[in-house]
Symmetry: C3
Subunit: 203 residues, 3 copies
Amino acid sequence: MEEIYSILMMVGTFVLAISGALTAMERKFDVFGVFIIAFVTSIGGGTLRDILIGKDVFWIFDPTYPYIIMGGSIFALVFNKCLEYLRSTLLVFDTVGLALFTILGAEIGLSYDLNMLSCVILATITGVVGGVLRDVLVNEVPVIFRKEIYATISIAGASLYLLLKLYNVGYYITELVPVLFIIILRFIVVRYKISLPGIYKKI
Amino acid sequence: MEEIYSILMMVGTFVLAISGALTAMERKFDVFGVFIIAFVTSIGGGTLRDILIGKDVFWIFDPTYPYIIMGGSIFALVFNKCLEYLRSTLLVFDTVGLALFTILGAEIGLSYDLNMLSCVILATITGVVGGVLRDVLVNEVPVIFRKEIYATISIAGASLYLLLKLYNVGYYITELVPVLFIIILRFIVVRYKISLPGIYKKI
Amino acid sequence: MEEIYSILMMVGTFVLAISGALTAMERKFDVFGVFIIAFVTSIGGGTLRDILIGKDVFWIFDPTYPYIIMGGSIFALVFNKCLEYLRSTLLVFDTVGLALFTILGAEIGLSYDLNMLSCVILATITGVVGGVLRDVLVNEVPVIFRKEIYATISIAGASLYLLLKLYNVGYYITELVPVLFIIILRFIVVRYKISLPGIYKKI
């Protein structure tokens, strides 16, 4: 159990570092700017989660994560040069990070005996806050509030995970299905440009 | 005492959720965007307060608040359709939330034996941070720094509360007068377009 | 040791309060807006540092810092009127604050037995977060991501400090040289308009 936490966390950290680095490169930030945006994008959600539940912040006493983020940033720098479709690459990494961190957040919520609603909120925070900070720092309206119903997918995935947990289906199904669910759902939404209805001002 | 805390907190949460939801609706966010902005607006100040004084974050282990926020968001959705003057409605809910959370912050500061200056700062943080986060997330210069001397009113209300507490006037006066003071002061300021002098650059 | 912490912290708080106040005055914020931006700029980095390592937030139980910030704000108001070159004044205070807080962050990291990489990160957070918050609040792309390789200098200074500590050179050299290194490096960078290479998108 502890082990799957660590693996989820490391892979999620790596892919979100790439997502952050690609965004920073698009804005022509310098190399340290790229590293800082990668750092904030990948540890932002988990850091807020740990502060909220009063847990030691996961990367402070363990240098593994900063090293993974450095690795992700360097990977993005190299990757960038071979690739022509930055936008869609960004989407892939961002989506995998969203899926892994959402489920990780829900797991940690359960392990702290939080109620279901708080688990969903914690899962969503873990999944989306890094991307929100990234967007606030580069001074955009966060992606979460634009299209692609980003947060909605995270909420749906976390709810599915808690449901599978509740009905006690097999271990691997509980861990894998919600992750795949989030990834596939996001690609469908982006591909077919689905969006939730806004509630327009009547005046 | 504990009881009045809870009531202040619940009513404040409800009205600030409405304020956040109305802002998000004005920007044509989708339904989950509306809920998230409502959530951040109403728990932002209290969350930062609890983190700063090292207290358990109030909504993590208690699902009451997230449910109240859902209620406020739904209320805003329905309310929105009957109303023509969104701007002034927003002002009412925002102001009541500012007043309730400011006094709540001052009370919690006192109960932690903080000095007067820290109590005022904690009160102001509790009162205004939710609104600041809301504005940062929708990518505006926060309302606090524009007109309507928002934070100034919060500081004045908190100081009045601490003064009444110091001179030990009756319980209900101490609780109610500063709340009304903040609400009335803000309406006067908005009505007569009062603003503090800026300090203009001489060059 | 404790003593030099306090002195670094107080001087750093004072100069960053001035830097924040000058920025707010340039934007024609009202007097409380000036104080709030001064407050956030000078305590932002240290507050995040203390929250991350689970330490009591330094200014909550000790009113010294809020008073120093008030002093810095008032100093900036007076200073402003005698000065014609606001931009370069802002640079001086911002740079001294960056230097002092960076070294302070590294020291506190060491005193918590953090590994070297986390010390550098903590030092950089302490040094730059106040300025980032200031810029986000006034709705700009943070200075850190524009030119003048702000964060890079902080990282270099923190690394130099840890190196000197490791090789156990004299106490005063360890404390003073990295501070001067950061200040001089920033002035050179600004004077000769040096910037790190961006990694441009190839598409």
